[in-house]
Symmetry: C2
Subunit: 475 residues, 2 copies
Amino acid sequence: MAERITPREQDFSQWYLDIIQHAKLADQAPVRGCLVLRPNGYALWEVVQNELNQKFKETGHRNAYFPLFIPESFLNLEKDHVEGFAPQCAVVTHGGGKKLEEALIVRPTSETIINSMYSKWVKSYRDLPVLINQWANVCRWEMRTRPFLRTMEFLWQEGHTCHETEDDARKETLRMLDIYLSFLRDVFAIPVIPGRKTESEKFAGAEETFCVEAMMQDKKALQAATSHYFGQRFAKVFDIKFQDRNSQVQYVYQTSWGISWRILGALIMTHSDDQGLVLPPKAAPTQVVIVPILQKNKDNSAVLEVSQRLKDELSKQFSVILDDRIEHSPGYKFNEYELTGVPLRIEIGPRDLANNLCVLARRDGLKTQVLLDQVGAETGRQLDGLQKDLYAKAYDRLKSHTYVENDYSVFKEKIEAQGGFYQLHWCESRKCEDAVKEETKATIRCIPFAQIREAGRCIVCSSESKGRVVFAKNY
Amino acid sequence: MAERITPREQDFSQWYLDIIQHAKLADQAPVRGCLVLRPNGYALWEVVQNELNQKFKETGHRNAYFPLFIPESFLNLEKDHVEGFAPQCAVVTHGGGKKLEEALIVRPTSETIINSMYSKWVKSYRDLPVLINQWANVCRWEMRTRPFLRTMEFLWQEGHTCHETEDDARKETLRMLDIYLSFLRDVFAIPVIPGRKTESEKFAGAEETFCVEAMMQDKKALQAATSHYFGQRFAKVFDIKFQDRNSQVQYVYQTSWGISWRILGALIMTHSDDQGLVLPPKAAPTQVVIVPILQKNKDNSAVLEVSQRLKDELSKQFSVILDDRIEHSPGYKFNEYELTGVPLRIEIGPRDLANNLCVLARRDGLKTQVLLDQVGAETGRQLDGLQKDLYAKAYDRLKSHTYVENDYSVFKEKIEAQGGFYQLHWCESRKCEDAVKEETKATIRCIPFAQIREAGRCIVCSSESKGRVVFAKNY
């Protein structure tokens, strides 16, 4: 099967689709633009849910669930919001066999419906902060879809919070961005550049949007998560007021933040290779597979017994499977677990056993012979090593393909030839931002928090610039 | 606030709504028939998810996610299925600003969309069994809605499986029913009667439907979960075929099974009282609340210190909160945790402390003075005791309000006056089943697995009957 994966060099897009198919992560649904998340893919989503739920709860957030359907009139209340989302909506016009008086929108995001509830719940500063998250499906009509990255329906989480002060809300916006950043770094082994979106790229209805941007193996950018500061915009539209500590009535300050299943696309495109999916151990639903080297029509009991004992021992610390199927050859199995991205394979054959040895094979190719009584400790070391190495490789890619450039024509040539991230001076005008997009398809991914602050000239119009921003082509 | 809960005796329906409101479990959404599941309610749903996920995974099932939207034509493929569900559908007719060529149904249940995928995935007996579950929102247009019990959109899980043989599929159907039964019994402390549905009450498209039926405090029945055996019905419609062990092509045998957030309604109506929500300890997101008896403008440090130490100790085993807010009186707090159903309250005041004592107050009123160094062990005992007592009370209610009756007019009088479950002889005709429903609103809840098998006469038409079935009014 492995040879059916198109090599990255040949066709990166097809390689991505092949990985998804062969690792059985997802499948196309019979409804255009919709995806079926198969058990192997859903298991990755469960890792995201478990890890983030823990971080959300540690920081005082609670989960809730709001309705799928939003009255059409709600969406119209905030001008920028409706302009951003109306063209993407799926609309329910009939229910229970009758035409509805008011059409219902299938939520593209839940600011409006959630804020309509917050206006009922928030009365006093004692009710604040409101720190609520929801795991849900949302729907955005897309003309061109791509598994995980752009689908008509997708799974995500969306946090929506209310605060007493601007300062509290701004801190929350950045705290949640940081939770995404550390999750991506520590679990998914994906380094990202955190920063602020420009006016043209920010969320429809937000005052400010912050994001974390990752680089894929084809050197394109992928926005992995966003966090929005709303100020009092929605609070004023939905009348979310509270009596403050001085008995004055005030509007709340708000944030929202979300991460979707598109990060599974980021995970694939950051680490996988031409043999299949590559998963960092902390993101892997199955971390270790034990493959006993069995011989048909022979007595395999010694190898099986040791394998089972190893499984029992390792299962205390890691998530382990033992593949003792006799009908498939070891080679077949090796291939299968390479396709599905299991980080560490342990091989035990009769010859190894005679020497009290087994082989630990990391998914990235590194093989080690280990004494049987040291497998426990060595498994932890190998998994840690792989986790670190995958991050380092991705970090190195990001660093070595981020260029500081001052000449527009050089930039245009380079981005066309090799992709990458470009630190460019920009005059902060929409016009120059649009010009670059028009001519190169590159957009400003973010104004990085770690911005290169220096005087310079806009790469397009040569007006004054105070610092560089990051341009790239993106998913 | 407690006095604002309508007593059960006065108006059971209003009492139910009051509990939901005061315990902040849910709220009405601005879309008719939709519910907002607030954090206190969602925490209960997370208990359901965690407990069932564990049981599902132990029995080899994996989670996946299928699309929200189903092409209208799919629903029409199975005759009984479409007749059952078409009148309840919400229909998307427009997307991305355009009228769709084929309307999309918002899933009322996912048999059709999931089976369309299974027909792609299943080729050989080696692909079987397929054991997949999905946690999702579904939508059924309801004219009369009631929080949790009947809402237009609701959260549920739906398992969908394929098997090689009828025997395997039938075993799966009953295995999953048993998982629901033991979850309800052991975690939610709800005793249920398991059995089979009659032809008229079974799931649209199923060969057989099995269910577990609970009795609420008003003596009405509530169907808490169902498990369906489909035989090869959908397999033939969706062409789900496999090569069996003898190289013959066969259709798979299928099941589906589900539990929805209506069990939160069952939980409320089984245990709660006129003071608020009552939660069995194993179903409680917060099991213990420590309330130090604080005195304004005095030194509370000794009480607070012991409270914190207790919290740290108990948190190793239980989910505990410490309410050290100085601005609220102990009475206010007691009331709040009665409303929200925290199973055990620990009170620590300065006088108790002087005697090395504290008070453990169970949510059902039982109070015990305990030496501080025995709180750890005693907390476990009190929680276990409450869990058992709540089950026993519900079990006793079910038993003492289940009547064996032979006279139709006596039955009609009794069910009108006092509700309850009635073991009645029935001739197995739709006509007599409908007659009872027409005259009393009672339906056959199930043909219990533990049926009273004895010769008798149908309570309506006096034809021969071989055993009794359970009639009751139901939610």
